[in-house]
Symmetry: C2
Subunit: 794 residues, 2 copies
């Protein structure tokens, strides 16, 4: 290890320092060039307006700092032959990461038309933030990245997700001081309490304090250093400071900090892996304080720019029109001495590349950032081992998520050596009744353990922290680096990650169009403790709108499943755990639920996604039914079956068809979603011309939004959650939202032509039952026996 | 000040200690009673199954800690005559806060049928988490609360919001150690960098470490105390520890900590208000470590409960069926010695009430928690001062949000002394072009200031932190305590607070039904930097789905406005800033936009919410138009006007009606939303039977979801954002999503019966223009002149 033989604070000799500085200058030159130039990339001619892009779109401010980090990561990786990945949090630094990838050659390997020569440099510059080109942030298009730098907040949780179960990997993570103000980032510092130094890799956070956000100073940059150190130590880290604006001094300090950090990480890991670890380690963090827009224009039009928020975006805005600005840009670009950095063909000179690692060690070439190259199929056991026996529909009840827990336990056990499956959740694994998994893996925990604790495990792969953001970020990082997982969450509170899932869907959508990105395992949500069964929690815990949210996004990526019982949940889970490049939302209950389908029936039903339950209806097959009772979701299915039961008893001459929908996207037109039914299929199921009474798990208008172009849409009547709730009984919840069996029967009576007149008595009986219900729960606090004890017994 | 005369660590004499303990025991008794009992509230008879609720729903674990805090806040308030409000973060502690409100009498004043006697105690117990009763969390129904304790994460930002501009107020804030793991809570610790000790009140965080969440230990409880102290000091606080499980010792320590905290707060405020302040103060934080479920069953069925996660919910689950459990419950309840606490009529004895403050000083009676009692109308200046002159439609352009900035500046100036208006945003005020406000108020900032900084102000009311969660939490706290505000946010990233706005809407919806809660100022969003103009940022910054999200929620509360130009934005802003108890979403652009309407026209148009722009169409009034071109949003309006221009030039015989929609909820059926049009109104505008081509700002299916029940819905054709984007030119964005003028003309040609055959040449010209566009942007990087220079000149 060369670093061990150098003075601690100045580990670089003159040659190495010059080489690192040359690399850094080259990256800075290329970053600025991308923002400004559409021609004359090497400044062989004096700069003219025609060389300047007509629209200047990009962010300079963060670039020099990112370039410094990349240069020094190169050195560290090369000196120590490290397997490393970097998360570039300040994503506005697209130009920097692209510049580095081009310098090291990984960019041209990924995009051969952007070659590592003058022609390629011309293209690199022109394509940046240009129509038909590449986005301005670090993005799926960027080699070496698993992290979009647009929204901010998720860098560190992504880094930990990448490090879990990657014992040989160092994940560097640059955190901007703007991003550090976000909640998700602030929460994710504590991820180190969940990082196992034995089976996981290391995360090296690099907090880059350049002092400003878009237009304001940042909080962390304006803390006294002692206070910042207290904060970082409170987060469980040991800070290493690199501060300055003199490049030579900063290079020495940065190299020293990188060496120290790498040494400490190696020490922590060696100790833990030799079994000598004692307590939770204090991992290093590098605090890098350099000016925003460092090496850019110091002043523009008489106002300070370098080192202020004015350097955030495009420091010289008028270079095309204003000769003074243009001269300033030219002198800025020439200050990097491009002629020293690039040869006559525009190729980086050997000195520039001296620090760059080889082959897959390069940050733009690591396979960890293209996780689809590494992912292996999950060893999924036969579902027969977990299925509940179903002799007849509704004869028994099970808690679907508890049954699923047994499957997850088997997956955990089967991946005990491979360690490529994790279950994440905000302290809800047991609440969601998945606790069988603990038999195969405990809960990851590196902090203090007390005698009363159960199932905590330094090496566990069940992840529980009361932060949906951290859960989501961990899982995204884990999946994008080639592993598998499931996020179990209370249905209402998954909205906390609405914006994160937006970004992940956008990432997958874009990745799917990039031939060099191999498909990764899907992001799978199990949403349970759902809207209909918030007996303990009431209105604040009732929101089924996540389905609506994801269905607004790219149809190639999103899938929504509402299995109505235990065996259909197993079948759906098996399917989503095998899938790739998707976001699968599975909504299922944890409360005892009737078992409607055997495993074979469940498989067949899930394969169709939606189908007639012949045994539940009263069609005789000779004519179209009088009414279709459709349902999606466990509670609506129960109410529809109970309504069908009432109709069968009270109005036996009404021909009822019962349709259950598992896959909501089946309702969409075929041209809008790959799972969408053709009109022929839809018509065969829903019989245009006949009334359809649809009991849906969530907001009822979602069904209309999916099916508005279908034949017979005017006859489609949907019941669902109307945002009416409180802490009450399960049946009262459906009554309050008009989703109950009695109301559904009334809906049928009101909608089947001619029936209302013939069924006034039955309709009144239904209304009476609702009245009886209200009185009963107020007196007893529980649902009346005719509801609570109802079973399907046909 | 009595506390100054007492020993520092044991400020309580025996009488006071006994009285505090009696109050605490009474609160504990009442908390447990609510969870378990539906009869025999004072245990006058031996406990029988019939006295036990059939469904045990509630959370015991956090209650004794909350009761301890409430008891000691009572003492502090009474001793020092403080004006105080408390945010109860661990909301599962509904029983505790209800118990305390009942004890102090504020509950019976709010709900006279729950009187402060045996009959009232019976009702207090029975109603809890019972059908028709009250929810299990702290909720709008709870007197003294502005914070729903369901979702977790927002306690501290709510507390700061309440404290801003309330210089005489102490806001205590209990933070559970579960909640402390969330991102929003973690971010909000830094709110103290924005708290002005001169004009703002104080926030006293009380971090309650009872060690466990639902089923896991908490991160903060398992840090060594030195590390936790570093963290809290790093957050800018000085920790005061209260640790123990011996009530007498904990009472002394808690009283001492409360006194010390109050003394320090007073010192900080006195120093700042006397002008002697030097730098940012270090505010106190109390760290309270007591066992989860303290004083409850130590063991149940052989497993430890008190002090473990098993105490989280209902520690004895089977009391109705299991005589052993029931005996244990009875002995637990009797351990509080209810006969010492309540008199023969069930009223709290004087000793129990000795610590309780008087009248509005009681935490359940403070007017700050019923902000509608305090709110004053905003002094809104006449819009004429800010309106842009419009001689003819489209003759000029303005940046709408910049124009709005002038209005906001005037509101800021007019509230300079009242200090009851704040503007919040995630470092985007200037980016969103509202910077005129800085002339009336700088940006709140208590941290270090450097010479290059601009517009930072220790007393500022513009709030900028790069945390949408913190912005939202601050504003909610500010509004619910009777003030006004506006949240300006990039459109895409407002999804970050999806879940928070859910909770706020639920809060308002519930509050509206409570006669004692007075209406508060609405929560107003200005969403800008919207989907169509992400020239710098591209796909990750493109998401117009927040509108879809809020429109799923209670229609009484939600409003959505898409003003198409500067004057309509002024009119909408004026309206929403006057409104009450709503969540108003205003989507408006910051880029130069045609001025279509004069102020008078804008007011009339906004009053209608949707209307025909006669000047833009080619109807002659003698017959129904051939087609309706509808639009909502600034960019769609521009494209529809440009399409109308093309139709006028190329197909002058087609009678076109142009309809602009400002208020999206106008499209909903009248019975579904108070702003919804009647069918008659809708038909008059959209002419059922004629094709409607609707250019909408966001996801197109939203319009279908709102209008699916309307006549003529099959003829409604909607264009909008189809989740297709990147960094490209503004016009390319609309082309990519088929929202451009050429496509709209093609849509008209395709939909007006018989027109396609007559207009093949025009249709081809439109298709050619799109092809021309693609070639042009690839060559030039800008939009072609025929688009960029287009103006409306009829």
């Amino acid at each position: 290890m060369r670093s061990d033989q150098r003075p601690q604070n100045a580990p670089l000799d003159d040659d190495e320092l010059s080489a690192l500085d040359a690399h850094w200058r080259a990256a800075n030159y290329l970053s600025a060039g991308q923002i400004y130039l559409m021609d004359n990339p090497l400044l062989r001619k004096p700069l003219e307006p025609a060389h300047i892009k007509p629209r200047l779109l990009g962010h300079w401010g963060t670039s020099p700092g990112l370039n410094l980090v990349h240069t020094h990561l190169n050195r560290l990786i090369r000196n120590r032959d490290l397997d490393a990945l970097c998360i570039w949090g300040p994503g506005h630094g697209g130009p920097a990461v692209l510049a580095n990838a081009w310098l090291e050659g990984s960019y041209s390997e990924t995009y051969p038309n952007v070659s590592r020569d003058e022609e390629g440099m011309f293209r690199l510059f022109r394509q940046f933030s240009f129509p038909g080109g590449v986005p301005s942030h670090v993005a799926p298009e960027t080699p070496g990245s698993i992290h979009e730098g647009g929204e901010l907040g998720y860098a560190l949780s992504h880094a930990y997700g990448a490090a879990f179960d990657n014992p040989g990997l160092l994940v560097a993570c640059v955190i901007g001081d703007g991003e550090a103000e976000t909640g998700p980032l602030a929460a994710s510092w504590h991820s180190n309490k969940f990082l196992d130094p034995v089976h996981d890799g290391a995360v090296l956070p690099i907090l880059h304090l350049n002092g400003y956000k878009i237009a304001n100073p940042t909080v962390l940059a304006r803390l006294p250093e002692t206070e910042l150190d207290e904060l970082l130590r409170g987060y469980g880290h040991e800070p290493l400071h690199v501060t300055g604006d003199d490049p030579r001094q900063v290079h020495q300090a940065m190299a020293a900090a990188m060496d120290t950090a790498a040494d400490r990480i190696r020490g922590i890991q060696q100790q833990a892996r030799s079994g000598a670890a004692d307590g939770r380690p204090r991992w290093p963090v590098i605090v890098l304080r350099t000016p925003k827009g460092w090496t850019g224009p110091a002043e523009v039009d008489g106002l300070p720019v370098e080192g202020t928020w004015r350097a955030h975006q495009v420091p010289l805005p008028a270079v095309r029109e204003d000769a003074g600005h243009r001269a300033q840009l030219e002198s800025w670009l020439r200050s990097y001495r491009p002629e020293e950095l690039f040869d006559d063909d525009g190729r980086p000179r050997p000195q520039v590349l001296a620090c760059v690692p080889e082959g897959p060690r390069r940050l733009g070439a690591t396979r960890h950032a293209n996780g689809g190259l590494l992912v292996r199929d999950l060893p999924l056991p036969p579902l027969e081992r977990f299925a509940v026996p179903v002799d007849r529909p509704g004869g028994t009840r099970h808690e679907p998520t508890r049954v699923l827990g047994n499957l997850l336990q088997a997956v955990m056990a089967a991946t005990a050596d491979r360690r490529d499956f994790r279950l994440v959740g905000p302290d809800e694994t047991a609440s969601n009744r998945l606790q069988a998994v603990y038999a195969a893996s405990g809960k990851a925990w590196q902090a203090q353990v007390l005698p009363a604790d159960e199932d905590l495990d330094r090496h566990g792969r069940v992840m529980e922290i009361l932060s949906e953001h951290t859960c989501q970020g961990w899982l995204e990082g884990y999946l994008l680096t080639g592993r598998h997982g499931l996020f179990s969450c209370y249905e209402a509170f998954v909205h906390i990650v609405d914006s994160m899932v937006n970004q992940h869907i956008k990432w997958l959508r874009t990745s799917r169009a990039l031939p060099w990105r191999a498909p990764v395992a899907s992001l799978n949500y199990l949403l349970t403790s759902h809207v209909w069964r918030q007996d303990h929690n009431g209105f604040s815990h009732q929101d089924p709108g996540f389905v609506d949210h994801v269905l607004n996004k790219s149809p190639e990526v999103v899938r929504v499943y509402l299995p109505p019982d235990a065996n259909t949940l197993l079948s759906v889970a098996d399917h989503v755990l095998r899938s790739r490049d998707q976001v699968n939302v599975v909504v299922a209950g944890k409360q005892p639920c009737f078992d409607w389908l055997s495993l074979d029936e469940a498989r067949a039903h899930c394969a169709r996604g939606a189908g007639v339950w012949e045994w539940a209806g009263t069609e005789d097959g000779t004519r179209e039914p009088d009414v279709v009772l459709a349902c999606a979701g466990d509670v609506p299915t129960q109410e529809v079956l109970a309504a069908a039961d009432l109709l069968r008893r009270h109005l036996p001459h009404v021909a009822v068809r019962v349709v259950n929908v598992v896959d909501m996207t089946r309702l969409m037109p075929r041209e809008d979603h790959p799972h969408g039914m053709t009109d022929l299929e839809y018509d065969a199921l829903f019989t245009p011309g006949r009334p359809v009474v649809f009991a849906y798990h969530g907001y009822p208008w979602l069904v209309h939004r999916l099916a508005y172009r279908r034949h017979g849409h005017p006859d489609l009547h949907v019941r669902g959650y109307k945002e009416v709730g409180t802490t009450t009984t399960p049946f009262d919840m459906v009554v309050r939202n008009d989703l109950d069996r009695y109301r559904l029967v009334m809906d049928v009576i009101d909608r089947v032509p001619g029936l209302a007149a013939r069924a006034t008595g039955v309709r009144q009986a239904m209304a009476d039952a609702r009245t009886r219900h209200h009185a009963y729960i107020r007196a007893h606090g529980t649902d009346m026996p005719e509801v609570a004890d109802w079973t399907w017994d046909h």
